[in-house]
């Protein structure tokens, strides 16, 4: 891929509306959902949507800010989920142990696979991340001690320091919402930091960053590890949501969905992938209620997004500002 010349101007900061008010609006809406619809189904659905949003958010760090198209991101979701469920099957049911282990497992897998994948560029990067995702999938299917193809069931949600706090769906909802908010604020701070600027700089013009004395590889690897860790956290929550894990969590189709969420919402905006993640999950559910063949509607929607919605929902909402 030839490096495209970039005009030597700093990109303008996003408009205030997108920077402050859109996130406030999104999180406020999410916070009042349980007050309006208390039904289990709606709560569970929106909780799932928020977990997907965390995963999409983590992908945005590498995809939107690093231009690294990872086609194996679902592996991290599965690794986080399996870490929690496997520990559970060994009677380690406390979130204070299980969640850090899940996050570390995701980070470790990202460190190893990232160190190899990031040696490649462009198409090859897409393919090699896909390959690692497939490896994780096949490993999960071969874990016959932990359910193999059929997956692994948990008898209840993780405990929090010995109490069954998360068993309550509303509490769990707010824990997930809090995690989403925490990840959002963390990533927002990170992309605004020097680290984030180097990452973006390497995306815009790698050669120039090298000339400035930065090693883009290390910054990309750090971002990749962080994204993997956050996605594994989403996986840990996902395992708790349904109290079930299965290899199907890490198919390449799900990785494709994550990409769709990020692009649909708006790459490199952080709030966009959250909207995209929630939006895609809800639309899928809505279409599935209309027809069992919802994919014939969803597929063309994805195609139209790819062809026409450059910049995603966030750019559409804030059109004219930039």
């Amino acid at each position: 891929m030839a490096e495209t010349p970039v005009p030597p101007v700093m990109p303008a900061a996003p408009p205030l509306w997108r920077r402050i008010w859109l996130p406030v609006l999104v999180f406020a809406l999410l916070a009042i959902v349980p007050l309006i619809w208390g039904e289990r189904f709606i709560l569970g659905l929106v909780t799932r949507a928020m977990i997907m949003a965390i995963a999409a958010l983590s992908l945005d760090l590498i995809l939107g800010y690093g231009a690294l198209v990872s086609f194996g991101h679902a592996a991290f979701l599965g690794i986080g989920a399996y870490a929690v469920a496997i520990l559970f099957s060994h009677d380690i049911v406390d979130a204070s142990i299980a969640f850090p282990v899940a996050i570390l497992a995701g980070a470790l897998f990202a460190l190893v696979t990232g160190a190899i994948s990031l040696k490649t560029r462009g198409v090859y990067f897409i393919m090699i991340t896909l390959a690692f995702g497939q490896m994780a999938l096949f490993t999960a299917t071969s874990l016959s001690a932990y359910g193999g193809d059929d997956g692994l069931r948990m008898f209840h949600r993780s405990e929090v320091f010995g109490s069954r706090l998360l068993a309550n769906d509303t509490t769990f909802y707010f824990v997930v919402l809090g995690t989403l908010l925490g990840c959002f604020l963390l990533l927002k701070a990170i992309v605004a930091s020097r680290f984030g600027r180097v990452l973006r700089g390497a995306k815009e013009n790698e050669r120039r960053m090298r000339a400035l004395g930065f090693d883009p590889f290390l910054y990309r690897l750090a971002a990749y590890v962080l994204a993997g860790a956050i996605c594994a956290l989403a996986g840990a929550l996902f395992a708790n949501l349904g109290m079930f894990v299965a290899p199907a969590y890490m198919t390449w189709q799900r990785s494709g969905e994550f990409i769709a969420m990020v692009v649909l919402g708006g790459m490199g905006t952080l709030i966009g992938p959250i909207i995209g993640g929630i939006g895609v999950t809800l639309v899928e559910e809505w279409l599935a209620q209309i027809t069992q063949h919802w994919k014939v509607i969803f597929g063309p929607m994805v195609i139209l997004v790819a062809i026409f919605a450059r910049g995603g929902i966030v750019k559409l909402l804030t059109r004219g500002d930039r």
Binding site: V263, K295, G299, I303
Partner: protein, 307 residues
């Protein structure tokens, strides 16, 4: 591990290899000439199988059904090119991946609506439905040999077209430096449309040939697509030779390790129960490990076309 099994599995590996080659050939050319990632290439394979499942009983003849299926696969390929792909040539890989991912969802579900979710069977031609004795006490289905034979014939044909004809020269030139070919006055878009349609037809041919030995079902192309990507990445994007060698390599490694990984691990000193647990996992991962290794040492594949 008996030598009989080894012979049979080697042939099975070759069969998977040539099927992969038929799919990967179109993929690698499309990739090489237009720098376009077509995830939907796997559904072309599935479509070929479904079209065979429809036309073969309809015409009562495998050959006639195959010809109709190929013609339809070509038309569908050209249609997709005009409706979707054409709008994505100048875009990022990301948008191409996303759009063709949507296409997969649509077409996988579409065949479910048209033909139902239940697997279909395709009868093989009567004359080729028997078995043949290839060595002492080793019987092998003739049809599988026919798949290998036809795949190799297509490979030779493709090689002749790509190396000896004008179109082939343009394709090779396009894979090496598309803007230059365009600047020399060649209508690269039309060239690409031809390549795309032809690639779709080849994938359809693979599907139609495989249909009698596999069950024809929605999503059957998805896993093969991933394998085909592994093939072209190992072989080097844009290279027919690379696709051929990569395909045979992947077909053989995957098939042989699937049947012998447990035995090999036991020979390596693992306990039988450990070998039985780890063996299948290693077998299904082997080609991805192969690909990661190739990319690690040769980041642009074994036979890079651009250079």
């Amino acid at each position: 591990m008996s030598s009989t099994l080894l012979i049979i599995q080697t042939l099975n590996g070759l069969q998977l290899g040539v099927l992969l080659f038929l799919i990967a050939a179109g993929l690698t050319l499309v990739f090489g000439v237009m720098d376009f990632i077509n995830l939907a290439h796997g559904v072309q394979y599935m479509l070929g199988a479904y079209l065979a499942a429809m036309f073969v009983p309809l015409t009562g003849s495998f050959v006639l059904g195959l010809i109709l299926a190929l013609a339809t696969a070509l038309l569908v390929g050209l249609l997709l090119e005009v409706v979707v792909m054409r709008h994505l040539y100048d875009r990022d890989h990301l948008e191409q991946v996303l759009a063709t991912f949507g296409l997969i969802l649509f077409l996988n579900e579409g065949v479910k609506i048209i033909w139902g979710a239940a697997p279909l069977q395709v009868p093989m031609p009567q004359a080729l439905s028997g078995t043949i004795r290839i060595a002492d006490g080793v019987l092998y289905p003739v049809w599988r040999l026919a798949i290998i034979g036809s795949g190799l014939a297509v490979a030779v044909g493709l090689w002749l077209v790509v190396t000896k004809t004008r179109v082939g020269m343009l394709i090779r030139a396009g894979a090496t430096n598309a803007p230059m070919v365009s600047a020399l006055g060649v209508d690269i878009r039309r060239l690409f449309m031809i390549v795309f349609g032809f690639g779709a037809m080849l994938a359809g041919f693979a599907g139609a040939m495989a249909a009698p030995v596999l069950s024809v079902e929605p999503g059957m192309g998805d896993n093969l697509l991933i394998l085909a990507f592994v093939v072209i990445v190992i072989g080097g994007i844009g290279s027919i030779r690379g696709a051929f060698i990569g395909a045979l390599l992947v077909g053989l490694v995957d098939t042989l390790l699937r049947s012998f990984s447990v035995d090999l691990l036991r020979l390596g000193g693992l306990s039988p129960s450990d070998a039985r647990t780890i063996g299948p996992a290693i077998a299904s991962m082997s080609i991805y490990i192969l690909m990661a290794a190739v990319l690690f040492f040769r980041p642009t594949g074994l036979f890079p076309a651009k250079g």
